[in-house]
Amino acid sequence: MDGAEKIRVENLTKIFNTGRTSVVALENVNLTVEDGEFLCVVGPSGCGKTTMLRILAGLEKPTSGRVYIKARNAGKPPTAVVFQGDSIFPWMKVVENVEYGLRIRGIPLEERRAIALEYLKKMGLERFADLYPYQLSGGMKQRINVARAFASDPEILLMDEPFGALDEQNKLILQQELLRIWEGSYKTTVFITHSIDEALLLGDKILVMTAQPGRVKAMLEVKIERPRDIILIKSSPVFIELYREIWELLREEVMKARNMR
Protein backbone atom coordinates (compact mmCIF):
# COMPACT_ATOMS: atom_id res chain seq x y z
CA MET A 1 0.00 0.00 0.00
CA ASP A 2 1.70 3.17 -1.15
CA GLY A 3 -1.03 5.46 0.10
CA ALA A 4 -1.66 7.01 -3.30
CA GLU A 5 -5.21 7.98 -4.12
CA LYS A 6 -6.93 5.51 -6.42
CA ILE A 7 -10.61 6.47 -6.45
CA ARG A 8 -12.02 9.91 -5.84
CA VAL A 9 -15.73 10.64 -5.71
CA GLU A 10 -16.58 14.36 -5.78
CA ASN A 11 -19.99 15.84 -4.97
CA LEU A 12 -21.70 12.86 -6.53
CA THR A 13 -25.46 13.20 -6.87
CA LYS A 14 -27.79 10.87 -8.69
CA ILE A 15 -31.47 11.56 -9.26
CA PHE A 16 -33.74 9.02 -10.95
CA ASN A 17 -36.69 10.48 -12.79
CA THR A 18 -39.57 8.09 -13.14
CA GLY A 19 -42.51 9.83 -14.72
CA ARG A 20 -43.75 12.55 -12.40
CA THR A 21 -41.78 11.60 -9.33
CA SER A 22 -38.05 11.88 -8.94
CA VAL A 23 -35.97 9.96 -6.42
CA VAL A 24 -32.71 11.25 -5.03
CA ALA A 25 -30.58 8.12 -4.74
CA LEU A 26 -27.27 9.78 -3.89
CA GLU A 27 -26.71 13.26 -2.53
CA ASN A 28 -23.39 15.02 -2.51
CA VAL A 29 -21.20 12.00 -1.82
CA ASN A 30 -17.50 12.67 -1.34
CA LEU A 31 -14.91 10.03 -0.65
CA THR A 32 -11.49 8.76 -1.59
CA VAL A 33 -10.12 5.25 -1.66
CA GLU A 34 -6.39 4.72 -1.51
CA ASP A 35 -4.47 2.41 -3.74
CA GLY A 36 -4.60 -1.16 -2.44
CA GLU A 37 -7.41 -0.43 -0.01
CA PHE A 38 -10.45 -2.62 0.59
CA LEU A 39 -13.48 -0.40 1.17
CA CYS A 40 -16.72 -1.89 2.41
CA VAL A 41 -19.94 0.07 2.02
CA VAL A 42 -22.82 -0.59 4.40
CA GLY A 43 -26.16 1.15 4.65
CA PRO A 44 -29.87 0.47 4.90
CA SER A 45 -31.68 -1.00 1.90
CA GLY A 46 -32.32 1.52 -0.82
CA CYS A 47 -29.58 3.90 0.29
CA GLY A 48 -27.98 4.04 -3.14
CA LYS A 49 -25.06 1.68 -2.50
CA THR A 50 -25.64 -0.21 -5.73
CA THR A 51 -26.19 3.03 -7.64
CA MET A 52 -22.80 4.29 -6.50
CA LEU A 53 -21.16 1.06 -7.59
CA ARG A 54 -22.88 1.18 -10.97
CA ILE A 55 -21.63 4.75 -11.46
CA LEU A 56 -18.10 3.65 -10.58
CA ALA A 57 -18.47 0.81 -13.10
CA GLY A 58 -19.61 3.21 -15.82
CA LEU A 59 -23.01 1.55 -16.08
CA GLU A 60 -24.84 4.63 -14.87
CA LYS A 61 -24.13 8.33 -15.37
CA PRO A 62 -24.05 10.77 -12.42
CA THR A 63 -26.63 13.56 -12.39
CA SER A 64 -23.92 15.85 -11.08
CA GLY A 65 -20.47 15.48 -9.59
CA ARG A 66 -17.67 13.23 -10.81
CA VAL A 67 -15.83 10.02 -10.13
CA TYR A 68 -12.15 9.54 -10.92
CA ILE A 69 -10.36 6.24 -11.17
CA LYS A 70 -6.65 6.70 -11.46
CA ALA A 71 -5.32 4.36 -14.11
CA ARG A 72 -1.76 3.17 -13.84
CA ASN A 73 -1.63 0.84 -16.81
CA ALA A 74 -3.23 1.84 -20.10
CA GLY A 75 -3.92 -1.76 -21.12
CA LYS A 76 -5.96 -2.63 -18.05
CA PRO A 77 -9.73 -2.23 -17.88
CA PRO A 78 -10.74 0.40 -15.32
CA THR A 79 -13.13 -1.86 -13.43
CA ALA A 80 -14.43 -5.41 -13.08
CA VAL A 81 -17.71 -6.07 -11.33
CA VAL A 82 -18.90 -9.05 -9.34
CA PHE A 83 -22.67 -8.73 -9.48
CA GLN A 84 -25.04 -9.93 -6.84
CA GLY A 85 -27.09 -12.27 -8.96
CA ASP A 86 -26.21 -15.18 -11.18
CA SER A 87 -24.24 -13.33 -13.83
CA ILE A 88 -21.88 -15.85 -15.37
CA PHE A 89 -22.80 -16.61 -18.98
CA PRO A 90 -24.64 -19.94 -19.26
CA TRP A 91 -23.46 -20.35 -22.87
CA MET A 92 -19.78 -20.33 -21.97
CA LYS A 93 -17.75 -23.02 -20.28
CA VAL A 94 -16.35 -22.21 -16.85
CA VAL A 95 -12.90 -21.39 -18.23
CA GLU A 96 -14.37 -19.24 -21.02
CA ASN A 97 -16.32 -17.29 -18.43
CA VAL A 98 -13.21 -16.65 -16.35
CA GLU A 99 -11.23 -15.45 -19.36
CA TYR A 100 -14.05 -13.22 -20.67
CA GLY A 101 -12.54 -9.92 -19.53
CA LEU A 102 -9.21 -10.84 -21.11
CA ARG A 103 -10.93 -11.89 -24.33
CA ILE A 104 -12.66 -8.50 -24.53
CA ARG A 105 -9.23 -6.88 -24.17
CA GLY A 106 -7.94 -8.90 -27.10
CA ILE A 107 -5.48 -11.10 -25.18
CA PRO A 108 -4.57 -14.11 -27.39
CA LEU A 109 -6.34 -17.37 -26.56
CA GLU A 110 -3.34 -19.28 -25.25
CA GLU A 111 -2.26 -16.52 -22.90
CA ARG A 112 -5.71 -15.76 -21.52
CA ARG A 113 -6.51 -19.44 -21.04
CA ALA A 114 -3.36 -19.88 -18.96
CA ILE A 115 -4.35 -16.93 -16.75
CA ALA A 116 -7.93 -18.20 -16.39
CA LEU A 117 -6.74 -21.68 -15.41
CA GLU A 118 -4.40 -20.17 -12.84
CA TYR A 119 -7.30 -18.34 -11.16
CA LEU A 120 -9.49 -21.44 -11.36
CA LYS A 121 -6.72 -23.32 -9.60
CA LYS A 122 -6.55 -20.66 -6.88
CA MET A 123 -10.28 -21.14 -6.34
CA GLY A 124 -9.97 -24.92 -6.43
CA LEU A 125 -12.13 -25.11 -9.53
CA GLU A 126 -9.70 -26.33 -12.20
CA ARG A 127 -11.51 -29.69 -12.41
CA PHE A 128 -14.63 -27.85 -13.57
CA ALA A 129 -12.94 -25.77 -16.30
CA ASP A 130 -14.73 -27.51 -19.16
CA LEU A 131 -18.19 -27.73 -17.61
CA TYR A 132 -21.10 -25.47 -18.35
CA PRO A 133 -22.64 -23.36 -15.54
CA TYR A 134 -25.88 -25.38 -15.43
CA GLN A 135 -23.82 -28.27 -14.09
CA LEU A 136 -22.64 -26.23 -11.06
CA SER A 137 -24.08 -25.16 -7.72
CA GLY A 138 -24.80 -21.54 -6.75
CA GLY A 139 -21.69 -21.29 -4.58
CA MET A 140 -19.47 -22.53 -7.40
CA LYS A 141 -21.03 -20.09 -9.85
CA GLN A 142 -20.30 -17.19 -7.53
CA ARG A 143 -16.69 -18.39 -7.18
CA ILE A 144 -16.37 -18.28 -10.95
CA ASN A 145 -17.84 -14.80 -10.87
CA VAL A 146 -15.08 -13.73 -8.46
CA ALA A 147 -12.42 -15.51 -10.51
CA ARG A 148 -13.66 -13.74 -13.67
CA ALA A 149 -13.26 -10.33 -12.02
CA PHE A 150 -9.76 -11.07 -10.67
CA ALA A 151 -8.56 -12.67 -13.92
CA SER A 152 -9.41 -9.57 -15.96
CA ASP A 153 -6.87 -7.71 -13.79
CA PRO A 154 -8.72 -4.38 -13.57
CA GLU A 155 -7.55 -1.13 -11.98
CA ILE A 156 -10.23 -1.55 -9.30
CA LEU A 157 -12.58 -4.33 -8.26
CA LEU A 158 -16.25 -3.66 -7.58
CA MET A 159 -18.40 -6.17 -5.73
CA ASP A 160 -22.11 -5.80 -5.14
CA GLU A 161 -23.14 -8.14 -2.31
CA PRO A 162 -21.52 -11.03 -4.14
CA PHE A 163 -22.31 -13.56 -1.42
CA GLY A 164 -25.73 -12.21 -0.48
CA ALA A 165 -27.64 -15.09 -2.02
CA LEU A 166 -25.50 -17.88 -0.54
CA ASP A 167 -26.16 -19.98 2.54
CA GLU A 168 -24.09 -19.33 5.70
CA GLN A 169 -21.53 -22.10 5.19
CA ASN A 170 -20.89 -21.25 1.56
CA LYS A 171 -20.68 -17.58 2.47
CA LEU A 172 -18.01 -18.25 5.07
CA ILE A 173 -15.96 -20.36 2.67
CA LEU A 174 -16.18 -17.79 -0.10
CA GLN A 175 -15.26 -14.95 2.25
CA GLN A 176 -12.22 -16.92 3.29
CA GLU A 177 -11.25 -17.58 -0.32
CA LEU A 178 -11.78 -13.96 -1.27
CA LEU A 179 -9.52 -12.85 1.58
CA ARG A 180 -6.83 -15.30 0.50
CA ILE A 181 -6.88 -14.21 -3.15
CA TRP A 182 -7.21 -10.55 -2.34
CA GLU A 183 -4.37 -10.59 0.16
CA GLY A 184 -2.17 -11.89 -2.63
CA SER A 185 -3.06 -9.02 -4.94
CA TYR A 186 -3.99 -5.98 -2.80
CA LYS A 187 -6.21 -4.67 -5.54
CA THR A 188 -8.23 -1.57 -4.72
CA THR A 189 -11.73 -2.86 -3.99
CA VAL A 190 -15.17 -1.43 -3.27
CA PHE A 191 -17.38 -4.06 -1.67
CA ILE A 192 -21.05 -3.51 -0.95
CA THR A 193 -22.72 -5.53 1.77
CA HIS A 194 -25.65 -5.70 4.14
CA SER A 195 -23.69 -7.50 6.75
CA ILE A 196 -21.60 -5.69 9.37
CA ASP A 197 -19.76 -8.96 9.99
CA GLU A 198 -18.73 -9.23 6.39
CA ALA A 199 -17.63 -5.61 6.23
CA LEU A 200 -15.43 -6.05 9.31
CA LEU A 201 -13.95 -9.32 8.10
CA LEU A 202 -12.93 -7.99 4.71
CA GLY A 203 -12.53 -4.22 4.83
CA ASP A 204 -9.69 -1.86 5.63
CA LYS A 205 -12.25 0.91 5.84
CA ILE A 206 -15.99 0.92 6.21
CA LEU A 207 -18.24 3.55 4.72
CA VAL A 208 -21.59 3.87 6.48
CA MET A 209 -24.26 5.50 4.33
CA THR A 210 -27.44 7.28 5.36
CA ALA A 211 -30.93 6.15 4.40
CA GLN A 212 -32.37 7.63 1.23
CA PRO A 213 -31.03 9.92 -0.05
CA GLY A 214 -27.67 8.22 0.32
CA ARG A 215 -24.98 10.36 1.89
CA VAL A 216 -21.74 9.62 3.71
CA LYS A 217 -22.61 9.06 7.36
CA ALA A 218 -19.24 7.89 8.63
CA MET A 219 -15.96 6.44 7.45
CA LEU A 220 -14.34 4.04 9.89
CA GLU A 221 -10.99 2.35 9.84
CA VAL A 222 -10.72 -1.36 10.62
CA LYS A 223 -7.43 -1.77 12.39
CA ILE A 224 -7.11 -5.52 12.12
CA GLU A 225 -3.89 -6.89 10.72
CA ARG A 226 -3.62 -8.89 7.53
CA PRO A 227 -3.51 -11.70 6.61
CA ARG A 228 -6.74 -12.15 8.51
CA ASP A 229 -8.32 -15.24 9.92
CA ILE A 230 -12.08 -15.05 9.84
CA ILE A 231 -12.63 -17.19 12.93
CA LEU A 232 -10.07 -15.40 15.09
CA ILE A 233 -11.27 -11.95 14.07
CA LYS A 234 -14.78 -12.53 15.29
CA SER A 235 -13.62 -12.86 18.89
CA SER A 236 -11.13 -9.98 18.86
CA PRO A 237 -11.96 -6.89 20.97
CA VAL A 238 -11.49 -4.56 17.98
CA PHE A 239 -14.16 -6.46 16.07
CA ILE A 240 -16.67 -6.33 18.90
CA GLU A 241 -16.05 -2.63 19.54
CA LEU A 242 -16.42 -1.68 15.85
CA TYR A 243 -19.44 -3.90 15.40
CA ARG A 244 -21.26 -2.02 18.16
CA GLU A 245 -20.21 1.36 16.75
CA ILE A 246 -21.39 0.56 13.23
CA TRP A 247 -24.62 -0.93 14.50
CA GLU A 248 -25.39 2.28 16.42
CA LEU A 249 -24.83 4.30 13.26
CA LEU A 250 -26.87 1.95 11.13
CA ARG A 251 -29.74 1.63 13.57
CA GLU A 252 -30.45 5.35 13.39
CA GLU A 253 -30.61 5.15 9.63
CA VAL A 254 -32.74 2.02 9.52
CA MET A 255 -35.22 3.64 11.93
CA LYS A 256 -35.30 6.77 9.77
CA ALA A 257 -35.94 4.68 6.68
CA ARG A 258 -38.79 2.92 8.46
CA ASN A 259 -40.42 6.18 9.53
CA MET A 260 -40.31 7.52 5.99
CA ARG A 261 -42.54 4.77 4.66
Binding site: A57, G58, L59, P77, P78, T79, A80, V81, F83, G85, D86, S87, F89, P90, W91, M92, K93, Y100, G101, R103, I104, R105, Y132, P133, Y134, S152, L158
Partner: protein
Protein backbone atom coordinates in the same frame (compact mmCIF):
# COMPACT_ATOMS: atom_id res chain seq x y z
CA UNK B 1 -11.30 -61.63 13.42
CA UNK B 2 -11.78 -63.72 10.36
CA UNK B 3 -15.35 -64.46 11.29
CA UNK B 4 -16.12 -60.79 11.65
CA UNK B 5 -14.53 -60.06 8.29
CA UNK B 6 -16.54 -62.82 6.69
CA UNK B 7 -19.74 -61.57 8.20
CA UNK B 8 -18.94 -58.07 6.94
CA UNK B 9 -18.29 -59.37 3.43
CA UNK B 10 -21.57 -61.19 3.55
CA UNK B 11 -23.50 -58.08 4.49
CA UNK B 12 -21.82 -56.14 1.72
CA UNK B 13 -22.75 -58.85 -0.74
CA UNK B 14 -26.30 -58.76 0.47
CA UNK B 15 -26.41 -54.99 0.03
CA UNK B 16 -25.09 -55.42 -3.47
CA UNK B 17 -27.82 -57.90 -4.15
CA UNK B 18 -30.41 -55.52 -2.79
CA UNK B 19 -29.04 -52.79 -5.05
CA UNK B 20 -29.11 -55.12 -8.00
CA UNK B 21 -32.67 -56.07 -7.25
CA UNK B 22 -33.67 -52.44 -7.06
CA UNK B 23 -31.89 -51.68 -10.33
CA UNK B 24 -33.54 -54.66 -11.90
CA UNK B 25 -37.01 -53.61 -10.92
CA UNK B 26 -36.36 -50.08 -12.15
CA UNK B 27 -35.14 -51.41 -15.49
CA UNK B 28 -38.17 -53.66 -15.68
CA UNK B 29 -40.40 -50.68 -15.04
CA UNK B 30 -38.72 -48.64 -17.80
CA UNK B 31 -39.00 -51.55 -20.20
CA UNK B 32 -42.63 -51.99 -19.28
CA UNK B 33 -43.38 -48.30 -19.92
CA UNK B 34 -41.56 -48.42 -23.26
CA UNK B 35 -43.53 -51.41 -24.46
CA UNK B 36 -46.63 -49.71 -23.22
CA UNK B 37 -46.08 -46.69 -25.47
CA UNK B 38 -45.66 -49.04 -28.42
CA UNK B 39 -48.83 -50.84 -27.53
CA UNK B 40 -51.29 -48.00 -28.00
CA UNK B 41 -50.66 -47.47 -31.75
CA UNK B 42 -50.51 -51.22 -32.29
CA UNK B 43 -53.82 -51.61 -30.53
CA UNK B 44 -55.37 -48.88 -32.68
CA UNK B 45 -54.14 -50.53 -35.88
CA UNK B 46 -55.51 -53.84 -34.70
CA UNK B 47 -58.86 -52.29 -33.82
CA UNK B 48 -58.98 -50.61 -37.22
CA UNK B 49 -58.24 -53.90 -39.01
CA UNK B 50 -60.83 -55.83 -36.99
CA UNK B 51 -63.48 -53.19 -37.51
CA UNK B 52 -62.81 -53.21 -41.25
CA UNK B 53 -62.98 -57.01 -41.37
CA UNK B 54 -66.25 -57.03 -39.43
CA UNK B 55 -67.55 -54.30 -41.75
CA UNK B 56 -68.17 -51.97 -38.80
CA UNK B 57 -66.53 -49.21 -40.84
CA UNK B 58 -66.80 -48.55 -44.54
CA UNK B 59 -63.53 -49.74 -46.08
CA UNK B 60 -64.14 -47.61 -49.18
CA UNK B 61 -63.76 -44.52 -46.98
CA UNK B 62 -61.45 -45.66 -44.21
CA UNK B 63 -59.58 -48.54 -45.87
CA UNK B 64 -57.73 -50.91 -43.53
CA UNK B 65 -54.11 -51.36 -42.41
CA UNK B 66 -53.66 -54.50 -44.50
CA UNK B 67 -55.01 -52.87 -47.68
CA UNK B 68 -52.78 -49.82 -47.14
CA UNK B 69 -49.80 -52.12 -46.60
CA UNK B 70 -50.57 -53.98 -49.85
CA UNK B 71 -50.55 -50.67 -51.73
CA UNK B 72 -47.46 -49.42 -49.95
CA UNK B 73 -45.18 -52.30 -50.99
CA UNK B 74 -45.31 -51.73 -54.79
CA UNK B 75 -45.18 -47.96 -54.26
CA UNK B 76 -41.94 -48.40 -52.34
CA UNK B 77 -40.35 -51.07 -54.53
CA UNK B 78 -41.06 -49.19 -57.76
CA UNK B 79 -39.35 -46.14 -56.31
CA UNK B 80 -42.43 -44.01 -56.99
CA UNK B 81 -42.95 -43.08 -53.34
CA UNK B 82 -39.27 -42.23 -52.92
CA UNK B 83 -39.43 -40.00 -56.00
CA UNK B 84 -42.34 -37.96 -54.60
CA UNK B 85 -40.76 -37.90 -51.14
CA UNK B 86 -37.48 -36.53 -52.51
CA UNK B 87 -39.26 -33.82 -54.51
CA UNK B 88 -41.25 -32.67 -51.48
CA UNK B 89 -38.20 -32.91 -49.23
CA UNK B 90 -36.15 -30.68 -51.50
CA UNK B 91 -38.99 -28.13 -51.59
CA UNK B 92 -39.27 -28.19 -47.80
CA UNK B 93 -35.52 -27.87 -47.26
CA UNK B 94 -35.08 -25.06 -49.81
CA UNK B 95 -38.14 -23.20 -48.54
CA UNK B 96 -37.09 -23.68 -44.94
CA UNK B 97 -33.59 -22.32 -45.52
CA UNK B 98 -34.90 -19.48 -47.71
CA UNK B 99 -37.23 -18.45 -44.88
CA UNK B 100 -35.08 -19.18 -41.84
CA UNK B 101 -31.87 -17.37 -42.92
CA UNK B 102 -33.46 -13.95 -43.55
CA UNK B 103 -35.71 -14.59 -40.53
CA UNK B 104 -32.72 -14.95 -38.22
CA UNK B 105 -30.84 -12.00 -39.76
CA UNK B 106 -33.81 -9.63 -39.65
CA UNK B 107 -34.88 -10.89 -36.21
CA UNK B 108 -31.42 -10.23 -34.80
CA UNK B 109 -31.25 -6.75 -36.28
CA UNK B 110 -34.75 -5.89 -35.07
CA UNK B 111 -33.85 -7.14 -31.61
CA UNK B 112 -30.56 -5.27 -31.46
CA UNK B 113 -31.36 -1.96 -33.15
CA UNK B 114 -34.40 0.02 -31.94
CA UNK B 115 -34.57 2.12 -35.15
CA UNK B 116 -34.79 -1.03 -37.28
CA UNK B 117 -37.45 -2.38 -34.92
CA UNK B 118 -39.43 0.86 -35.11
CA UNK B 119 -39.20 0.82 -38.89
CA UNK B 120 -40.19 -2.81 -39.50
CA UNK B 121 -42.34 -3.81 -36.53
CA UNK B 122 -45.59 -2.26 -37.87
CA UNK B 123 -45.10 -4.07 -41.18
CA UNK B 124 -44.49 -7.37 -39.44
CA UNK B 125 -47.40 -6.88 -37.06
CA UNK B 126 -49.80 -6.18 -39.93
CA UNK B 127 -48.65 -8.89 -42.35
CA UNK B 128 -47.94 -11.70 -39.88
CA UNK B 129 -51.59 -12.53 -39.10
CA UNK B 130 -52.49 -12.97 -42.79
CA UNK B 131 -52.95 -16.71 -43.34
CA UNK B 132 -50.22 -17.82 -45.70
CA UNK B 133 -52.76 -19.91 -47.61
CA UNK B 134 -54.68 -16.73 -48.43
CA UNK B 135 -51.76 -15.30 -50.37
CA UNK B 136 -51.06 -18.47 -52.35
CA UNK B 137 -53.00 -17.27 -55.43
CA UNK B 138 -50.96 -14.08 -55.34
CA UNK B 139 -47.76 -16.10 -55.04
CA UNK B 140 -48.82 -18.17 -58.07
CA UNK B 141 -49.45 -15.05 -60.11
CA UNK B 142 -46.09 -13.54 -59.18
CA UNK B 143 -43.88 -16.66 -59.20
CA UNK B 144 -45.68 -18.73 -61.80
CA UNK B 145 -46.41 -22.42 -61.70
CA UNK B 146 -42.82 -23.63 -61.29
CA UNK B 147 -40.80 -24.66 -58.27
CA UNK B 148 -40.23 -21.13 -56.98
CA UNK B 149 -43.90 -20.59 -56.03
CA UNK B 150 -43.85 -23.67 -53.79
CA UNK B 151 -40.53 -22.78 -52.20
CA UNK B 152 -41.68 -19.23 -51.60
CA UNK B 153 -44.93 -20.34 -49.95
CA UNK B 154 -42.98 -22.42 -47.43
CA UNK B 155 -40.32 -19.74 -47.00
CA UNK B 156 -42.82 -17.04 -46.09
CA UNK B 157 -44.44 -19.23 -43.45
CA UNK B 158 -41.10 -20.15 -41.88
CA UNK B 159 -39.77 -16.60 -42.15
CA UNK B 160 -42.30 -14.96 -39.81
CA UNK B 161 -42.05 -17.57 -37.06
CA UNK B 162 -38.25 -17.48 -37.05
CA UNK B 163 -38.16 -13.67 -37.24
CA UNK B 164 -40.51 -13.13 -34.31
CA UNK B 165 -38.86 -15.74 -32.10
CA UNK B 166 -35.36 -14.48 -32.86
CA UNK B 167 -36.31 -10.90 -32.04
CA UNK B 168 -37.97 -11.98 -28.81
CA UNK B 169 -34.87 -14.03 -27.99
CA UNK B 170 -32.64 -10.97 -28.24
CA UNK B 171 -35.05 -8.71 -26.35
CA UNK B 172 -35.44 -11.20 -23.51
CA UNK B 173 -31.76 -11.59 -22.69
CA UNK B 174 -31.32 -11.02 -18.95
CA UNK B 175 -30.11 -7.40 -18.48
CA UNK B 176 -27.43 -8.58 -16.05
CA UNK B 177 -25.53 -10.20 -18.96
CA UNK B 178 -25.66 -6.91 -20.83
CA UNK B 179 -24.25 -5.18 -17.73
CA UNK B 180 -21.45 -7.74 -17.51
CA UNK B 181 -20.44 -7.17 -21.14
CA UNK B 182 -20.62 -3.40 -20.69
CA UNK B 183 -18.68 -3.39 -17.44
CA UNK B 184 -15.84 -5.32 -19.09
CA UNK B 185 -15.85 -2.72 -21.85
CA UNK B 186 -17.14 -4.95 -24.67
CA UNK B 187 -17.48 -3.23 -28.05
CA UNK B 188 -20.77 -3.45 -29.91
CA UNK B 189 -19.53 -6.26 -32.13
CA UNK B 190 -18.11 -8.13 -29.13
CA UNK B 191 -21.49 -7.74 -27.43
CA UNK B 192 -23.31 -9.20 -30.45
CA UNK B 193 -21.03 -12.20 -30.76
CA UNK B 194 -20.51 -13.03 -27.07
CA UNK B 195 -23.91 -12.14 -25.58
CA UNK B 196 -26.72 -11.26 -27.98
CA UNK B 197 -26.39 -14.13 -30.45
CA UNK B 198 -25.64 -17.00 -28.04
CA UNK B 199 -28.26 -15.64 -25.62
CA UNK B 200 -30.91 -15.65 -28.35
CA UNK B 201 -30.05 -19.14 -29.66
CA UNK B 202 -32.60 -21.10 -27.58
CA UNK B 203 -35.42 -18.89 -28.86
CA UNK B 204 -34.07 -19.07 -32.41
CA UNK B 205 -34.34 -22.85 -32.21
CA UNK B 206 -37.86 -22.61 -30.84
CA UNK B 207 -38.68 -20.54 -33.94
CA UNK B 208 -37.01 -23.05 -36.25
CA UNK B 209 -39.02 -25.91 -34.75
CA UNK B 210 -42.30 -24.03 -35.12
CA UNK B 211 -41.27 -23.12 -38.66
CA UNK B 212 -40.68 -26.77 -39.51
CA UNK B 213 -44.22 -27.63 -38.43
CA UNK B 214 -45.58 -24.87 -40.65
CA UNK B 215 -43.42 -26.00 -43.57
CA UNK B 216 -45.03 -29.46 -43.48
CA UNK B 217 -48.46 -27.88 -43.42
CA UNK B 218 -47.70 -25.58 -46.33
CA UNK B 219 -46.08 -28.20 -48.55
CA UNK B 220 -49.42 -30.03 -48.88
CA UNK B 221 -51.24 -26.81 -49.70
CA UNK B 222 -48.54 -25.65 -52.10
CA UNK B 223 -48.61 -28.92 -53.99
CA UNK B 224 -52.36 -28.72 -54.37
CA UNK B 225 -52.06 -26.14 -57.08
CA UNK B 226 -50.09 -26.64 -60.22
CA UNK B 227 -47.77 -29.41 -59.09
CA UNK B 228 -47.04 -32.63 -60.96
CA UNK B 229 -45.19 -34.43 -58.20
CA UNK B 230 -44.63 -34.48 -54.47
CA UNK B 231 -46.28 -36.04 -51.44
CA UNK B 232 -48.92 -33.30 -51.26
CA UNK B 233 -49.65 -33.79 -54.93
CA UNK B 234 -50.06 -37.55 -54.26
CA UNK B 235 -52.72 -36.78 -51.67
CA UNK B 236 -54.71 -34.52 -53.94
CA UNK B 237 -54.27 -36.91 -56.89
CA UNK B 238 -55.53 -39.79 -54.74
CA UNK B 239 -58.48 -37.62 -53.78
CA UNK B 240 -59.33 -37.05 -57.45
CA UNK B 241 -59.01 -40.79 -58.20
CA UNK B 242 -60.74 -41.79 -54.97
CA UNK B 243 -57.71 -43.94 -54.16
CA UNK B 244 -57.87 -44.01 -50.37
CA UNK B 245 -54.95 -46.44 -49.94
CA UNK B 246 -52.56 -44.21 -51.90
CA UNK B 247 -53.71 -41.28 -49.83
CA UNK B 248 -52.86 -43.10 -46.61
CA UNK B 249 -49.43 -44.04 -48.00
CA UNK B 250 -48.71 -40.35 -48.64
CA UNK B 251 -49.92 -39.49 -45.14
CA UNK B 252 -47.52 -42.05 -43.69
CA UNK B 253 -44.68 -40.37 -45.58
CA UNK B 254 -45.68 -36.96 -44.21
CA UNK B 255 -45.71 -38.29 -40.66
CA UNK B 256 -42.31 -39.87 -41.28
CA UNK B 257 -40.91 -36.60 -42.72
CA UNK B 258 -42.18 -34.68 -39.71
CA UNK B 259 -40.51 -37.15 -37.38
CA UNK B 260 -37.18 -37.07 -39.24
CA UNK B 261 -37.03 -33.28 -39.51
CA UNK B 262 -37.81 -32.69 -35.84
CA UNK B 263 -35.22 -35.34 -34.93
CA UNK B 264 -32.62 -33.56 -37.07
CA UNK B 265 -33.46 -30.17 -35.54
CA UNK B 266 -33.16 -31.65 -32.03
CA UNK B 267 -29.80 -33.10 -32.99
CA UNK B 268 -28.61 -29.76 -34.39
CA UNK B 269 -29.81 -28.02 -31.24
CA UNK B 270 -27.80 -30.38 -29.06
CA UNK B 271 -24.68 -29.61 -31.09
CA UNK B 272 -25.20 -25.84 -31.26
CA UNK B 273 -26.49 -25.33 -27.68
CA UNK B 274 -24.53 -27.81 -25.56
CA UNK B 275 -24.96 -25.50 -22.58
CA UNK B 276 -28.71 -25.89 -22.31
CA UNK B 277 -30.02 -27.94 -19.42
CA UNK B 278 -32.05 -30.84 -20.75
Amino acid sequence: MNAVQEKLNQTIKMEDLADDAENNSRQKKAFFLKTFSFLSPLFLLLLWEVMAALKLIDVRLFSSPSRIFETLIPLVSSGELLYHTLISTSRIVLGFVAGAVPGVILGLSMGLFPPVRALLMPLVAVTFPIPKLAIMPLILIVFGLGESSKIFTIAIGVFYLVLINTMAGVLNIDPIYIDVAKSFGASKIQFYTTVAFPGALPMIFAGLKLGMGTALLLIVAAELSAARAGVGWMIWRAYDMFDIERMFCALIVLAFLGFVFSYLLDLLEKIVIPWKKR
